[in-house]
């Protein structure tokens, strides 16, 4: 099979043997690719400074057959996102969104949506001086939507009635994956009450470009409710908790006990 070329973001790289690395990348054209980069631990030519997590690269590779590893010939740097190495909270956020992409995307099934979203997330972490309070829930919501788990916020998930006009009475059912009207709010198991602003934000996620949605200003309440919605949906689709979630929580405790904690959410 001939050599392929595509833009990609490095999700993670781990050492393999004495001189190689196994690298997982989210590519623009080939979904998620895991391949072996021969000599990557030592090469000062083909792989220098391009296999760190969160790096945006041009990937030259030979796709795998079946479950085999792809063969990575070389990577050229497109953009080195520096914010994760300069701000602990951004490092934790970058780790979270990268791991989330890794566990939610399997093989070549991903279209360009997830790739575009990941780039938008890393670019926001790089360029936005103050992060939106909704950054992580917004990213998670957009990823859920792009992988087919978009919450339905226009119709009641029990009776099908249009729900947009029911101001102040919105109830979200994680088990039904969407809103319930006031008449049906007892038909969704455990539910989450949402403010109108939160419903508006969930609706806006469908039409707003990712790079804008990740930067929208919202109240703490909307951020909290959106987080509750996406957390409840994620818990239904993930088979294990994210490893980076523990680090995020440790960092939050750490920030609380230190005066100069990182800014943002």
């Amino acid at each position: 099979m001939i050599e392929k070329r595509t833009a990609a973001v490095v999700l993670r790289a781990r050492p393999y043997g004495e001189s190689d690395k196994i690298v997982t990348l989210l590519t623009r054209d080939w979904g998620k690719v895991t391949g072996i980069a021969k000599g990557a631990k030592r090469s000062q030519r083909r792989f220098v400074n391009v296999l760190d997590s969160f790096t945006h690269v041009q990937l030259y590779f030979r796709p795998s057959r079946g479950d085999d590893l792809a063969f990575i010939f070389r990577c050229d740097l497109i953009r080195n996102f520096r914010a994760p190495g300069q701000d602990l909270r951004r490092y934790a956020f970058a780790s979270y969104i990268t791991e989330l992409i890794d566990v939610m995307i399997a093989g070549r099934e991903a279209g360009t949506e997830a790739y575009t979203l990941l780039l938008a997330g890393l670019t926001t972490l790089e360029e936005q001086s103050v992060l939106s309070t909704i950054f992580l829930p917004a990213f998670t919501l957009l990823l859920l939507s792009s992988t087919g788990y978009q919450p339905n916020v226009t119709e009641c998930q029990h009776c099908g009635v249009f729900i947009g006009a029911n101001k102040g009475a919105s109830v979200f059912s994680p088990s039904r994956g969407g809103l319930l009207c006031p008449r049906c709010h007892d038909h969704g198991g455990m539910t989450i009450h949402l403010s109108d602003d939160t419903v508006q934000a969930l609706t806006a996620s469908r039409t707003t470009p990712p790079e804008d949605f990740l930067r929208i200003a919202t109240s703490l309440r909307t951020a909290r409710e959106t987080r509750a919605v996406v957390t409840s949906l994620l818990s239904r689709h993930l088979t294990r908790p994210l490893k980076s979630q523990a680090f995020l929580e440790q960092l939050e405790a750490f920030s609380d006990s230190h005066v100069d904690g990182p800014q943002g959410e």
Binding site: V48, D52, S53, G85, A92, K243, A246, F247, F254, D260
Partner: protein, 198 residues
């Protein structure tokens, strides 16, 4: 060719060493087979001893035989400076440079959320305990210039600075004997950013 069972076992064991393929393992096995008995006994004993006697230093978590490593036992080493590294191999690399005369602390890794490694999985609590004893005036953070190494350095700086201890980071940039023309853009950008006045 059919190897004798003992020779086959040795070839297999040697072949598991890093950088040793089957052919090299075979050559090494033949060398051992033809060597003096005393040499072979020394080699076997050295391999056994390194495994049986090497532990982690109870103070810095570098490699040691007994409770403390040679650096921690050495009264001539400065007690005011502490160099923080990721792994014991990094400690040995800094020692080879022969320009540092302080003490060390080995973290036994770096913060790596994607691998589930947070502050509690590293030797950060013992580090803070050492710093609170009050002798150390400067901490030099010598973690690798990877995103994980940088994040670990940031974390350490944040928790150490409130103790009133000077925290510095090793410089990153163009290697000695390097050629600017061939340096990658990330390294060059760091080198320019970290330039110093002459």
């Amino acid at each position: 060719m059919q190897l004798t069972p003992a020779l086959a076992r040795l070839v297999e064991a040697l072949g598991k060493l890093p950088g040793i393929g089957e052919k090299t393992a075979f050559r090494l096995a033949l060398f051992i087979l033809g060597a003096e008995r005393e040499y072979v006994e020394n080699l076997a004993e050295a391999i056994w001893a390194v495994k049986a006697e090497t532990t982690h230093c109870q103070q810095c978590f570098g490699l040691a035989e007994g409770d403390l490593c040679p650096v921690c036992r050495d009264p001539k080493r400065s007690e005011e400076s502490l160099c923080v590294v990721e792994e014991p191999a990094d400690l040995l690399a800094v020692e080879r440079a022969r320009d540092y005369h302080g003490r060390y602390h080995v973290l036994q890794g770096v913060l790596a959320p994607l691998d589930g490694i947070g502050p509690d999985q590293l030797k950060i609590a013992p580090l803070m305990e050492r710093l609170r004893q009050g002798k150390i005036r400067e901490v030099i953070i010598a973690t690798n210039p990877t995103v994980e190494g940088e994040a670990t350095a940031l974390y350490l700086a944040k928790i150490i600075k409130p103790l009133g201890i000077r925290v510095s980071r090793i410089a990153h940039g163009i290697p000695m004997g390097g050629d600017v023309e061939y340096i990658d853009s990330v390294t060059l950008s760091r080198a320019i950013e970290g330039r110093r006045e002459m």
